[in-house]
């Protein structure tokens, strides 16, 4: 079961229009080494403007693998993107933190990131983690690598991440290789997805282009996150924005495949509605979700793994808007068959993360994932014999068929999504979902964490120290606190 929004000939028409634009208009790439390899592969280059002929694009598409496996820190396979299924991860990368009073918002820190990822580690319906927060208490030069160090040290889940600069990519690769054992081992069992975002419309800034070029060569999965802004940085029509999205993602894909044929790529996106009143980028707007679903249809048509931003909210606090927008996004992206969905935990245009929201969203994601199962119609499930046997007035509660199947037929949510009767709810404290989430977060955080330990931890810390040395910064207090023996 997969939701389809495009007309049957939609992907073909979008593809044809995208090919024409890539050939005639092209994209601007502000990274000479990337432009150089594209020129050598047959792109027409004029300064930083790169026009890509049709056959180059078709070759690149043919070279891109349909599946991207993702492994956890211990080497176990967690997901195969491109196969049916949705895997959620907390959106990346917010700059603010909503405190547990539910109102105070401040700049996020390394310790916030560690707490968020420790909590995320306990949430089964959010299969991946991400470098979800910018750590404002960490020197800027190591802002990208330090986030990844926190993630790798805190939780075994695969990581959605990205480098802030061309050099940053190598810092991140060193950390990942330290955990995986070597760069080859990392390439064999990818542990992280690297996001690469074009700057709409039709531009790739230097860091993003260099990350594609060198990330492809290093064998890390690259996630192209085009972010059309209808009416501001792309045509105001959803179709026009979708076309621009297609062109931008294809240009990234061509660069990756030219750099390394067979490079693992993901057809991603962060569609938004540019609000014409406030100038904000509403990520949870229904039209944004619609674009995300349609973009994923394009990705599937290209036989590529897909990604989008969804299951998040543009509200400022964890309220009804937060729940409604997150649930709509989660349900629609699961039904839309999008493989990788970034968003849970996020508020305010992906700027803010909250522990409590992550706990609530986890239950929402769990319910949404329940939709993928569809309905079995085999005799045991259809139970016509049973219906005949029990007849009118039969008692299903007492029969063995019920005992056999009730555990697998239903996903029971809780404690946040509440199904108690009012009297019990009252007797047990009459807590609303925010209060439930707060308690649930605290109790989950009290569980023993699955921190990386032993020789691989030493290797990871050594790699981080090497990055500090290379970037000529002192280790932040958060790092030093981790090395104290009492931890």
């Amino acid at each position: 079961m997969t939701l389809g929004l495009l007309p049957p000939d939609g992907p073909e028409r979008l593809h044809a229009a995208a090919l024409a634009l890539l050939e005639e208009v092209g994209v601007r790439i502000a990274a000479p080494p990337a432009v150089k390899v594209l020129a050598a592969a047959g792109a027409r280059v004029d300064g930083d403007r790169v026009r890509m002929p049709r056959n180059l694009v078709e070759q690149a598409l043919a070279a891109a693998p349909p599946h991207v496996p993702l492994h956890d820190r211990e080497g176990g396979r967690v997901a195969v993107l491109g196969e049916p299924g949705t895997w959620f991860n907390p959106g990346s990368c917010a700059t603010r933190w909503l405190e547990s009073d539910g109102r105070t918002v401040r700049e996020s820190t390394a310790s916030d990131l560690e707490t968020l990822l420790a909590l995320n580690d306990t949430l089964e319906h959010i299969a991946l983690q991400s470098t979800a927060l910018v750590c404002h208490d960490v020197p800027r030069q190591v802002g990208d690598s330090y986030r990844l160090w926190v993630a790798l040290a805190t939780s075994p889940k695969p990581v959605v991440t990205g480098a802030f600069s061309a050099e940053g990519l190598h810092d991140l690769l060193d950390l990942l290789a330290a955990v995986a054992g070597s760069r080859d081992a990392l390439a064999a069992r990818p542990l992280a997805v690297f996001d690469a975002c074009p700057s709409p419309p039709l531009k790739w800034a230097h860091p993003a282009a260099m990350n594609i070029l060198e990330g492809a060569r290093a064998g890390v999965p690259l996630n192209f996150i085009s972010m059309p802004m209808p009416g501001a940085a792309s045509p105001v029509t959803l179709a026009g924005s979708l076309l621009l999205h297609t062109v931008e993602n294809l240009s990234g894909l061509v660069l990756a495949q030219v750099a390394q044929p067979g490079a693992r790529v993901i057809w991603g996106g962060a569609p938004v509605v540019f609000d014409m009143r406030y100038g904000t980028s509403a990520m949870a707007a229904m039209e944004a979700t619609l674009m995300g679903l349609a973009a994923a249809e394009m990705g599937r048509w290209y036989r590529l793994p897909t990604h989008t931003y969804a299951a998040l909210s543009d509200g400022k606090v964890v309220d009804a808007q937060a729940g409604a927008e997150t649930a709509a996004g989660a349900v629609l992206t699961v039904l839309g068959g999008i493989n990788l969905v970034s968003g849970p935990g996020m508020l305010e245009f992906a700027l803010t993360h909250s522990l409590e929201k992550l706990v609530i969203d986890h239950e929402i994601c769990g319910q949404a994932l329940g939709l993928t199962r569809g309905l079995r119609l085999d005799p045991e499930a259809l139970a016509s014999e049973l219906i005949a046997e029990l007849g009118p007035g039969g008692n299903y509660l007492a029969c063995s068929h019920t005992r056999r199947h009730f555990r697998s037929e239903f996903r029971l949510p809780g404690p946040v999504l509440d199904r108690r009767d009012r009297r019990t709810w009252h007797a047990e404290g009459a807590r609303d979902s925010w209060q439930q989430a707060r308690e649930e977060a605290a109790s989950r955080l009290a569980r023993p964490p699955r921190r990386l330990q032993g020789p691989r931890r030493e290797a990871l810390d050594a790699a981080m120290r090497e990055v500090f040395r290379r970037r000529q910064v002192s280790p932040p207090p958060h790092f030093l606190a981790h090395l104290r023996p009492d931890r």
Binding site: R28, R140, F164, S165
Partner: protein, 218 residues
């Protein structure tokens, strides 16, 4: 065309956001002998401020505001040389020179800020994107800017804001510097010695008013 209809025409090209006609209308007004200052105050800028008011009340939206501001920019390009020759300076709240720092090609946020500042009565000179520190310095000096606005959307290009501010201070320019962009925060603004930081375009207008010493009204 008489003075009245010319002023009406100027008002209309801005109010309706007819960007491509603005320069021609300004030229026609100058040919007819109108005072360039009057063209701005009673024609082009009057319309932009009206669009600003209607944006504030929710009757007009960003595409209309940005188009109106863009039309004024086009008209200014025609009127500026004449204003300079007459050595007259407009009764604007202040002159703002703004741009996106070197290495950064992001445009939208800065353009919205520019439009809103224009609608609020500031004179705005937009230097575009990927602007080197030296260009900010030269243009701010040459235009005797009251405010310099530096936009950056990447964590890697934020450092350029620091560089521009350092050079502005070193040169002793009497200009107030405001910074903005997605990764920019109040503490960053403080760290690099900016005179102010605004989280969004509306806040940028309030900040600019504060920086030139105009109390917030309404």
């Amino acid at each position: 065309m008489d003075r009245g209809s010319l002023l009406e025409e100027m008002y209309r090209v801005v109010y309706e956001g007819e960007v491509h006609r603005a320069a021609a209308v300004a030229e026609r007004a100058l040919e007819a002998g109108l005072d360039p200052l009057e063209c701005l105050d009673l024609g082009f800028m009057k319309a932009l401020q009206q669009v600003g008011v209607e944006f504030g009340t929710g009757e007009k939206f960003l595409p209309e505001l940005v188009a109106a501001a863009e039309a004024v920019q086009r008209a200014l390009q025609v009127l500026e040389p004449r204003l300079a020759a007459l050595r007259s300076r407009r009764q604007a709240l202040g002159r703002v020179v703004l741009g996106t720092v070197e290495g950064d090609i992001h445009e939208i946020g800065k353009r919205i800020v520019g439009s809103l500042l224009g609608a609020a009565g500031f004179e705005v000179v937009d230097l575009g994107v990927d602007v080197p520190a030296g260009t900010f310095l030269e243009r701010a000096r040459e235009l005797q800017a009251d405010i310099l606005g530096l936009s950056a959307l990447l964590t890697t290009t934020m450092e350029r804001q620091r560089e521009v501010i350092a050079r502005v201070r070193q040169a002793g320019l009497p200009v107030r510097v405001m910074v903005g962009g997605a990764p920019v925060t109040a503490s960053w603004a403080e760290e690099i010695g900016a005179d102010g930081y605004a989280e969004d375009a509306t806040a940028a207008v309030e900040l600019a008013r504060r920086l030139v010493g105009v109390e917030r009204c309404g």
